[in-house]
Symmetry: none
Subunit: 206 residues, 4 copies
């Protein structure tokens, strides 16, 4: 938590909510998802594991997916930050590998997949999810290409959002739809084909 904050420890308080309770809820939700799967994430279960009253949960979140969104926002950045070596080829390739790992192997990635799944089931949630979570994620996904354009390594007129979708799309597809493990060869060749198509020769020693 905010390291600056000294010992907290309070139950109920006129001014503001309990940070302790907030953390406990987010962690409980996260843990339950990983341990028992999405169906195992229940409001009752979260409350019990977090040692928190249901009312406290409903005071600050409206649904369990709302909680998972908060948990995701708190954790995702740690696991998934695009590298920035200055070399497009290397950065792109590395980022796609990292994205594949994030989506398929990490706890945050599991939360993310659960949220995307829920967005299929519930349009209202989908809208909120896109605003609060997905836009952040997509901005991260665009970073490698944006940097390369700024650095002059890619043409200035490049349609970065569309090109990003083409690059990361197959990775998400594998993670979400086929569920296959994603080998480095797969992501590397995605990067290579992209750079080749845009007149950027693959680096010899890649």
């Amino acid at each position: 938590m905010t390291a600056a904050t000294p010992a907290r420890r309070h139950h109920g308080n006129r001014h503001g909510r309990s940070e302790e309770a907030r953390q406990a809820v987010l962690e409980a939700a996260d843990d339950l998802l990983v341990e028992k799967g999405f169906a195992g994430v229940t409001m009752e279960g979260i409350a019990a594991r977090a040692g928190v009253a249901k009312q406290t949960i409903y005071r600050w979140w409206s649904t369990k997916t709302d909680i998972l969104m908060d948990a995701f926002l708190q954790d995702a950045t740690e696991d998934l930050t695009p590298p920035d070596s200055g070399d497009v080829a290397r950065d792109l390739s590395e980022y796609l590998r990292r994205l594949a790992w994030f989506l398929g192997e990490t706890d945050s990635g599991a939360v993310f997949r659960a949220l995307i799944a829920q967005a299929q089931h519930d349009p209202a949630f989908a809208a909120e999810f896109r605003t609060r979570c997905l836009d952040v994620q997509r901005a991260r996904d665009r970073l490698p290409l944006e940097r390369a354009v700024r650095a002059g390594q890619l043409p200035a007129g490049l349609d970065v959002p569309a090109e990003t979708d083409r690059l990361v799309g197959p990775v998400y597809y594998r993670a979400l739809v086929t569920g296959e493990p994603i080998a480095h060869a797969f992501t590397d060749s995605l990067a290579e084909a992209f750079l080749h198509h845009h007149g950027q020769a693959a680096r010899p020693g890649s």
Copy 2:
């Protein structure tokens, strides 16, 4: 319904199940999904709308997603058949357009997305879903490239499954993750980039 079977109308039957009940259940599940969303699809609701006893549903299906899988298998082929004009460029482009439309606009597509979503939430279901539904779908997705290879329009050594994933991945990504409408320009340029990369010049008049 199996056209051979004449008018049925029966309650109970020693030998074999009621085709009437089967159809009613599949349609009820489909309708509920479209009308009320995934959360609105409940066993009780299906039973009530189909005019069928819950026990009859449980006799033949184990979960509501099991029902939706049957509904999908019955409907999907009608909506999504790859074209076969003999021209790779034209067929590929057309198929990607059709896939985008299917995933984003049709009722069957909505069912498909719901099933993919459920596969995120439930690994056991995921396995069954992949065997029963996804493999069929992926086979369909591979058809254009497979035909082109057979016809000599693409190199014989092409890794068709991987290349297919790279082609359709961005379409699924748009449909499942971003939820954006998918313009023809997007799918067309996917096809074009693919053909260009494999030494197949885009047709002049495309």
Copy 3:
């Protein structure tokens, strides 16, 4: 249960409810009232102790007091039947003693007091309680005087309901309001004063 009915034992049934569940609920409610007091009678507690689902309770009863009414109706008659020796003085005296014992000492009496209490708190309940329980009880209370009138031991024009209230009123008052134990002397002198006032000399050997 109707002793004639053979072995029952069923879970769910198109035709009619489970007698087993019904009994279990009534007994659980009764037991909880005696053991833990009125506040200890909760729908959850009844369900848990009866080994019954809450939904099953709500299917047949609307409130916990509704359950207690059924429990009362089933048990009260056993504990409280007016004697009929043919001698007014003896019967009246005996009945008042028995009534005092019933209200103050028995489990059924405790249920009855709880219901009267609830009737103070809830007018809608009061109406139903009076119709379903109290009228039965008052009819019982009137029996000794009615028999005496029929037997010619009391004047034919006697206002039996009003006289009954005057007789039993003090007993209920002691039981409900003061909570004091009710000595035989108290009820006996009630009977004696009543008979004396109506020109009926007290029996010598009472």
Copy 4:
């Protein structure tokens, strides 16, 4: 309350409790009981209506019935004071009429009935209620007979408490149990029978 205290309006106070808050709570509880019935009297509701913090209530009262007891003690005396004309017959008859009206028609009477009801549900409360409220009330109920004995209008050896219970018992019974309206004829004949039994002829012109 303490009429001496001047105008107030304060939040917090170094010296003693807020008389304002006390009054507001008692009135809120009273009003809620009359408006919404016993179930509508909740600590939260009282606090909200009185514009008082829950903690303030809990500082001075332990339960909502504790509040209602205070409210009763504050109001009851106003509504129910035994008359003292010097004539037993008249005073007794008048007091029973007044008691019937108090129990059945007044707001204080409604509070009193609610407290008696609660005493059925909760033995601990019953004990406190009898000490703090009921003894006062019974003392009031005994007054007419006590005065008559002192004035020589009734025999000196009369068991006043028991006789009082016999007199008022039927009135409480009608008010609490049957819920019927209590006609003057009913109370008058109670008084008459009592006096007749104790050798006191009814006054001719009553």
